[in-house]
Amino acid sequence: MSRGRRGAIKPVATREDDMRLTRRSFVATTAATALTGLRFSMRSAVAADAKVIKFGMPQDFTKIYTFVTAEYSQGARDYFTLVNGRGGVNGYKIDAEVSDHANDLPRAIEAYERLKREGMVLIDPLSTPVARALVSRALEDKINLVTAFSGRSDAADGAVFPYVMPLSPNYWTQAGLIIDFFRQQDKDLKGKKIVLVHIDTPFGKEPIPIFQALGQKLGYSFETFPYTPPGNDQSAIWPQVRRAKPDWVVFWGAGVGQTTALSEAVRNGIPMDRMSSSVWISESDMDVVGKDAVKGVLKFEPCASGRSPKVVADIIKEVAGKGQGAGPEAKIGTSYYNYGVMMAAIMVEGVRVAFQKNPNGPITGPWLNDGLTAITDFTAEGLLPAMTVTKDDHQGGGKGRIARWDGTKFVPQTDWFSANQDVVWAEIKKSAENFKTTGK
């Protein structure tokens, strides 16, 4: 501002000057923030602790996967806290770096590069588009890319995708298992009608080849009803489903698509005990629709749910009990929380086996890969079906079970079993072959 001289008229502070002051300070603040931000991210690279194994967990907390990420991440982090609290693995602590990539590829790639520089050996993006974009980088950089239930179904073929680790039953396996459960219930599916209500995205369309192949094999007729993403308006779908008078309905969506599908199905009078979902349904979804309204709905369970498995009970005692839980205690034991615990347990088991094989090995991606592909008969103290991962089978055996909602919790209806793996692996091989030759 100008200093008025004696006698001179002091100019009144104009709005423009005020604006410029505000503008100047605003710009200065932004620039300062940017520089500090970059400095902070640089600094965290320096602290390289001696006995730490770094896992990168940039996930989508705010865009599309919000329904699952918060609980999944909470479960994984609680498990790591449990393991670290017990002294880690061979004295090494697990350091899981969690951040948000919001399903935005530049952010995801930045997180990947930054974590790579900090020495991570495993990354879990929990997002199909991000996983697909990172496949070529992970294969090149030899970093283990965990794609839990998502990503590429054909990555179960370890020969073609050595560093992509689903470590969980993929969608094709889930479809095969669900059909087998139907067959067990009905004794024979010949002449029956099975309907798939799915979200109209690659994820929703993924199980279709398996359903079709099994339909030819077992003799049932198969119809699909896609709905536009995200699925909050399925008003025109379910009247058609009702008219098709199906024997079994499989609904394949995520988040809001699932809750809407359930409420529409209820209002259209579809019997709940003839409906099954994939892995992506949880207690919170049931809560939104109305716990009692959807009694009888089936789902695919890759691991035990609830608070009774020993690992979860341990977490409640040792982690949440000491106030070190990574989120609200009410969420412990929900389906997605347990998925997080399951994946974290498998990862830690991979570390343990890696130490067994190469106790002095430098902690690198290939070192952990050796461990992950040698996991045998791992059940995480009763949480999972016995899982065996080999260099060729990154899925872990493809076992799961079907559970039914009884109004308060999911009750398993079968034992851990695997089914139709021949059809599934045929599809996996076909798709992986395609990737190898043409890069699709």
Binding site: F61, T228, A236
Partner: protein, 295 residues
């Protein structure tokens, strides 16, 4: 041709269309008085639904007390947005204001689930699940209530615009300078328009939220609402009602008739195709007034 199916889809389309129309009502109200398009309308609907949940389930009040509180709060929020943000953008080119509303949408989509929790929330209006049967057609009771309430609100808006307040707002939308000169408080009318549009968005958010659960995806209602607003005419409230029905029925029938032929997902395309056809044939919509660009 399964006529019962078509009939059922058509009726569902009418009801669902009215519910989308409620969001479009907000957009039209704002455009009518201040000449700007509000691309944050979906996010405001989401915020209204979140507040309704927060004031009822989170605190423990019954839903029918929580909703009016949320409505009042959102009315205030609408006025706040207009005062702080839109006031400064008067005179700027349209694209700046559009960008501002996109920025506001991002801000709300981050702030509301961030502070109130991003897990899906239950908002129950107590509508029984039992369907209503009309011949062989099944009418979803939730849609019946939702569509009915939305249609009523839109009609209420039309009636409002014939009242004294409404005439004031019509004057402002017609010619701001002339309104000033006869003593109408233009700023107040615009602020009220924003407040009312936030109220409409809240009702829409509550209705949709009760069916699908309250989470960020409520902000995606924007696209359909824009299609309806354009088809009906951005400055015509009766146009909203008519266009909402047209869009709702077209979408429903398209899903029923075209999906089996094409293999899915025609619903969203219907809205886009309607927009394109409207803009090519009759840019100002069915009931809109042509804007004459003065030299």
């Amino acid at each position: 041709m399964d006529y019962w199916l078509l009939g059922e889809l058509a009726i569902t389309g009418v009801l669902v269309g009215a519910m989308y129309g409620l969001v479009a009502l907000g957009i039209v109200l704002i455009y009518k008085t201040s000449g700007t398009a509000n691309f944050a309308q979906g996010a405001i609907a989401m915020m209204g639904a979140y507040f309704a949940w927060a004031f009822s389930s989170a605190i423990g009040l019954p839903v029918f007390i929580g909703i009016p509180i949320a409505v009042v709060v959102m009315f205030g929020f609408g006025i706040l947005v207009e005062r702080t943000m839109l006031r400064r953008m008067i005179g700027q080119p349209v694209i700046m204001v559009i960008m501002l509303t996109f920025g506001l949408e991002l801000l709300l989509r981050g702030a509301v689930p961030g502070f109130l929790g991003s897990a899906v929330k239950r908002l129950s209006l107590g509508i029984p699940q039992a369907p209503v049967f009309l011949g062989e057609m099944l009418i979803n009771r939730a849609y019946l209530v939702g569509g009915g309430v939305s249609a009523l609100l839109i009609v209420a808006a039309i009636v409002l615009f014939n009242s004294r307040l409404g005439i004031m707002m019509r004057a402002v939308s017609d010619d701001q300078t002339a309104s000033w000169s006869v003593g109408i408080r233009v700023e107040r009318a615009i602020a009220i328009a924003w407040g009312l549009s936030a109220v409409a968005a809240t009702f829409a958010g509550v209705l949709w939220g009760s069916m699908q659960g309250v989470d960020w995806s409520l902000s995606l209602l924007l696209m359909k609402a824009l299609a309806i607003a354009i088809l009906g005419g951005l400055d015509s409230i009766p146009g909203v009602l008519v266009a909402a029905e047209i869009v709702g029925v077209c979408e429903s029938l398209a899903t029923g008739v075209l999906d089996p032929m094409i293999g899915g997902g025609t619903r969203d395309i219907v809205a886009s195709v309607i927009i394109v056809i409207t803009l090519l044939i009759r840019p100002y919509g069915l009931f809109g007034h042509e804007q004459i660009e003065r030299v």
